[in-house]
Subunit: 487 residues, 4 copies
């Protein structure tokens, strides 16, 4: 089977067992239910756009396993150029959908992490995880499926390790090991794009010690597997998606984040890539982070591109030239290119792994995470500043009011500026959506917190080397070690 | 009549003619309708808290007209200490309600502006506006009413003056002058707290030239006056206010912003304070700005206090000590005290006006506006950083899901951390509400844009004085004037 | 004796015993030696400007002890307006001299601190320090002397208290108590303006416990007292002050910072204001800080004014209009007014002390310290950006080269732009001097470090109050205390 | 001839005709004169370090012209990896010398620019500049010379083009064209590292129109060519380099910036690479900028590494652990890696030129220029904050005072903290030197101003594409063009 069409993708979702809920309702068809439809359409663009040769070049590559054309989302990253393509693809998809298509891209990063980690496990432990993994991957490429990725556990008391928690299920764990597979219990939370995914790739949420080995687990499952219940979370202004009209201006994109509740889910061994090998959990996370925190710079740059466009549209609709805002627009571009660029640099400075994968530079990836967690806020602020008070908090009458028989005409009269009231509202709603509405993707904590990234930067700092450089320059010969005490 | 009770205030709103709509529905009782109830309760606290002596001291003062105790919201600011009290009151009310009570405080600033402006008009033009104003004010103090304030016009094409617009109504204007009053047409937009107000105080939206004199108009009207239709705008996640549960965690506060549609509203001359005296319109705006942009520093500081508390609550619920976030918390405090402090400084550096009012310093007020438009964003970012991923975009299941018969128990199990799931959710929802939800007050463009403030700073800069200081210091004797050309 | 004239001030310095050194040379006349001349001339302006009625109003007030006109630098701050005048005076003097006149203003703050502290000591301990202090102060006012202030000790290992240090002299201490006074040993370091001072007012450098009581000492001494050696420190490009020409463009202002070496200096009891009362040392420091960190906002604003003027002068000399740099100039103004304004706010929010003094608000003063330690750097950066490459690091040929017989003419030809080469150089040198040269006053650590200020902010934060506000708003009833552990 | 040794390099400088002056003195031997010695030693490290294999790998590559090992400084950049090596080499040299070795690296960038530009000229115009260039380059590689680069003209009135200036010499120009070469007059100013260079590579300073074609000129000359006079400019605290001791703590590195005065210098045609082809001047500048603004991120990162090391050294000498400053140190690292990383990204996103050279991405290079102009200021601020008051402005007694027979012992006693007084002073002086002293390289305007970079970013922004993206997302079909008027 080759690359899927839009229709095949939609059909594949329709056929799945309904196990996604929101507002205490079971969503029977994710492709039509307003609470998931937009995100499905956003992800569907990764199939629909294949018809356009320029987009197809961005979206596809060749399988190193089979030599067949495959979706990039199912490819193994083997050289810097693969990572550049990753960053570009993510940026492009944000431009097309306005927001995150995590139901493909997180899975991509997760499977790349386990490509490398299973290779290492097999090398060190003599296991056959890598072979199992490749077997699954080849099949996944052939089926051209959409795969979400899941790391974050419920975590309970943040100061305690999994096994120290009052409730042992607060991190996803193996509760039974069987000859044909494992049974897992727990939850993965805030998981992106699950509603648009065919499968979900699970990674351990952290590094673990031996006492926590049942938590060192990685596998991939169909989204609609038995005993898995999925609850979609709220987002800003999410209920507008159930309304008619343009108060949510974007129809071809949307984001969802879910709680995955595992009530003793059985995973067959053909889909298990780690089951207790705690000493490899940290690497699985690190390989994920190295790629994820590099490429996410493309994501926020892509949304930044949308913010720029939306802000200027609103300004023009108000009658103002973009020239008035030159400095702000340049600053927005600088923010976009900074996160995009550091991601590229992380790839360029990466290293070839003996398994054949390409590992991005940890220092630069984590530097990027800090930028990704902060610069988009400034870009949002500037978009709101350019677009004015109606965009800042979306301070405009609702679509229903705009269409009111009684006073809709008056609203139209007074909302009109240089351009039509509707265009002005749509543009301002897009700014709102991307900066304080349902399109905000959670760039600060998504893929880990900036404080966590700073800890990793600290680990890569090589401070003593810098101290030696300075000592030599200053002509200091005395030994000046780190003192014991703190201030 | 003395200071009103909570019950009297609520009763006064219930008695008014319904003329407020949202979602194409007429709100028949603003005190119970979920779309306005929270803001009414927030404003009602300004009456309810009078029972507490400590709060009463903050909320009340003595009328300089009658010597009677009155609400500060109806007082004339006559000395720096009155402005300090203004800043403190606003900060306090944000702490009590989590957000804006613009249905009292903007009216306060507006009436203070017209106290001074009517005095000036009478001095220069021999009119009797000031007397008319004082007569109304004394009565308003006696009735202890809640007054919204309205400046912003629809404005149309931003590059054109009112009379240049294709539609002459895009700025509120006098369409008829009668012996007993004026008839006005147009709109005032994005007006805060109207649903909680008994009256609305109208100011001109800008300075005007003679060709635009019909737009130079100020008056005060009952909120439910004939031919006035009010449409409440959307806010982030506003429809949650119509839901059950704690997804909007705050019940004792809320914000509304309305479009006021004037379809030939008749205003009797006893309530008209400017009607064509275009040369005073700019001063009316300036006096408003001087006080408003000073005191709004207290507003965002008060909400900043809430953000700090909510962020720490969430962190503690996660099991984390506030000490972990010391630097971030200190930065949040610095932001709060900076806007609060510059507001105080603006008052301290103000000047006594011959009318008896106290005019804040324009330079410092406008400096504060720039801070108010930016620092709260950083405070919000830090609150989201401290509170984690569930707070950043409110990435948690809905209240309905949390109470689900099917899986509510599982959600509770996995949402629990150091403290109960419900407390954790409520705390995180409060962060969400104040930083990306319905509690965000629009501090950037509210009361004018930061770019507008920068223009006013530029007007106060006295650049040549600084050039002279530098010339003298550097021993330069040559004349070095501003060159003609630009780069 | 009344307010001194310029000539009397200069004469008073000439008459003093030479005990100031730099470059291992004894400075025999501080008023003419190039290494101290500029700072003396800067301080002398506080006398010279008395001839100008407008400046006199800024510089003088009335003694609350005698009712006589006195220098503000010798006055007790008794109300907010006194502090406003303090901020204004400091700003004004930076405008006149381009830099710090610490040889009057630090002493002023120090004597105000001890006015209050001695009153408290006498109240609690029955001592008579306050009387002694007032006796000296009245005399100092009559003599109209210039007084430097000194807090900072040598401090040795920063993790150890004074008595824990290997060398007990690393903090200034009492080595002998005699009936007629005390003998002190140690050093005060980085002390500003000593070369221009008649006397030096010593404060304890920190709060102390009983074990360190010999370090709790305050007194005032003639600058040329026996056994005191003063070594002036380097500053950026300081040796240019010994050169001819305009490479140091400012002649009427300069800064010096000295190491004061006390080799068993005897201080008569009439000049001793604390001698072992360790439990009052912290208050002495706090009262100093409260006033100092408020008013220093005026200092950096004044220098910011100079930076603005100098940057524009250079731009104009380059042929560029200041309009090109509007945004940068406005940002510079915002920085200036922010530090100035928070200082004013700290005064306005201060409290009357029972001794009669006015104590600024500690929270706002420390918030200001953080701004003072950072915003001037941005202002300097912007000045360098506006003024261009020749100003950034002063990248221009020396005065000697400019006057070279061989190629001076060529340099003049190529340095000329819109205005003469000399004006352009002088303007750029002024930017250099104020941003990276001898005029940089050390605003970051002067008067204490920003990290120290943050600790004090933390102490004033009242975090639990904010947590309670948030709990109430969010409807949380569960007790959520600070957890024990750290992350 | 192969790579030169340290001795050969030094010897080559000694042999040159003395034509460099400072303080109106002719420098007869740049290798020993204190005003140029440090920069010569810094540049000499590029030869001396060849003995270390690890450093040799960084410093050398293989000539694509001859296949011989050559200095990287004389190589043509042909692929991204060559640019990564460029960034790494520059960072490394800053670590070794503490500052800029512009006398090799600017020349490198200049010759790369003309490699490409001469190729283009020959293609379009049928000239033979490229052949001439390659001939010279091969020889230069064989001689392993050190080459400075010079772009910046005197420029006069910034609003006028060269031919509009009152004085036609304010931009370097051809005054005579001869069969065997050209004669040039004018000046190149603020040129780095000339004192350490064997030759100087001249580029046009800007793009030019036909009316300015005599200014479109590029060539390379021996530094000591007839009729060229070089005047070295001042730097902060530069005269300390003529003093004994450690007040300038760095001996193995230094920076110089010179004014080059061309009094009708004859350049033989074998060394001329552009002489009037005005339509190629802009490209010459652009190719320079693309590489220069990418790699300069490595420069400021390298100096940032030194600032980190120096700040920690000082803190430790004070007795403080680096842990106290973790957040600040991480921020410094983020700044370093950001400029380094964006430079890498610019290379990675570059394009192969048909001439064989690799052209960095203009957008990312100019984004980097903005970061390079600002982030190092924050890094400096943080270094000063960590290192304390003695480092902030170098507020310590001079070396002479420290060695004073009279009170040197006392200064040593009081300067000692956790470590020896001398180590503490050396460390603090290094912070001073790198942040406010003679080591500050002028990263803001060096290689062009940040405002110029912003103009280039604007030119690369592709704003309309972003507007189209937003329009499509928001479902807007109306045409919304840029309005004519400004606000």
């Amino acid at each position: 089977m080759a690359l899927r069409t839009y229709a095949e993708y939609i059909e594949s979702l329709k056929k799945m067992r309904p196990n996604i809920c929101k507002f205490d309702d079971l969503i029977t068809d994710v492709t039509t239910n307003p609470m998931t439809r937009n995100t499905v359409e956003g992800h569907a663009k990764t199939y629909k756009l294949l018809d356009d040769p320029a987009e197809r070049e961005i979206l596809t590559t060749v399988s190193h396993l089979t030599g067949e054309p495959i979706s990039r989302y199912l490819s193994i990253i083997q050289k810097p150029e693969d990572m550049y393509a990753n960053s570009r693809l993510k940026r492009r998809m944000f431009q097309h959908t306005g927001t995150c298509t995590g139901g493909r891209c997180v899975g991509w990063t997760a499977l790349n992490s386990m490509f490398t980690t299973t290779w290492e496990m097999d090398q060190k432990l003599g296991t056959s995880y890598h072979k199992t993994f490749l077997y699954w991957l080849k099949d996944a490429q052939a089926r051209d499926i959409s795969i979400a990725g899941a790391l974050t556990d419920a975590k309970g008391d943040r100061t305690k390790t999994p096994s120290m928690q009052d409730d042992p299920d607060l991190f996803l764990r193996i509760v039974e090991r069987r000859a044909d597979g494992i049974v897992v219990r727990g939850a993965k939370v805030m998981i992106c794009g699950v509603a648009a995914a065919n499968e979900i790739f699970i990674l351990p949420g952290s590094g673990y010690k031996e006492s926590d080995k049942d938590y060192a687990v990685s596998f991939v499952i169909p989204r609609d597997i038995e005993n898995l219940t999925i609850v979609e979370t709220r987002r800003p202004s999410d209920s507008r998606e159930c309304e008619e009209g343009f108060d949510i201006p974007v129809k071809d994109g949307g984001i969802t984040q879910a709680y995955l509740l595992f009530e003793d889910v059985f995973v067959p061994k053909e889909r298990v890539f780690m089951a207790g090998e705690y000493e490899f959990a940290l690497n699985a996370v690190k390989y994920f982070i190295a790629a994820y925190r590099a490429a996410i710079g493309g994501c926020v740059a892509g949304q930044g591109d949308v913010k720029i466009g939306a802000a200027i549209l609103t300004a023009r609709a108000n009658g103002l030239s973009s020239r008035v805002f030159n400095d702000k627009i340049t600053r927005m571009h600088i923010n976009n290119e900074t996160t995009f660029g550091i991601g590229i640099a992380s790839a360029a400075m990466g290293k070839k792994h003996p398994s054949g994968s390409w590992i991005c530079d940890m220092l630069l990836s984590n530097v990027n995470k800090v930028h990704v967690a902060t610069l988009p806020y400034e870009t949002s602020l500037l978009a709101q500043e350019i677009a004015g008070g109606i965009a800042e908090t979306g301070c405009m009458p609702s679509y229903k009011d705009f269409k009111s028989q009684k006073y809709g005409g008056l609203l139209e009269k007074y909302m009109k500026a240089k351009h039509s009231a509707e265009s002005r509202i749509r543009a301002a709603r897009l700014v709102e959506w991307a900066t304080i509405g349902a399109g905000v993707p959670g760039c600060m904590h998504g893929g880990g917190s900036p404080d966590g990234a700073k800890l990793m930067i600290r680990a890569s700092e090589n401070l003593e080397e810098k101290v030696q450089i300075a000592k030599k320059l200053a002509g200091i010969t005395e030994d000046i070690p780190e003192p014991d005490g703190k201030r």
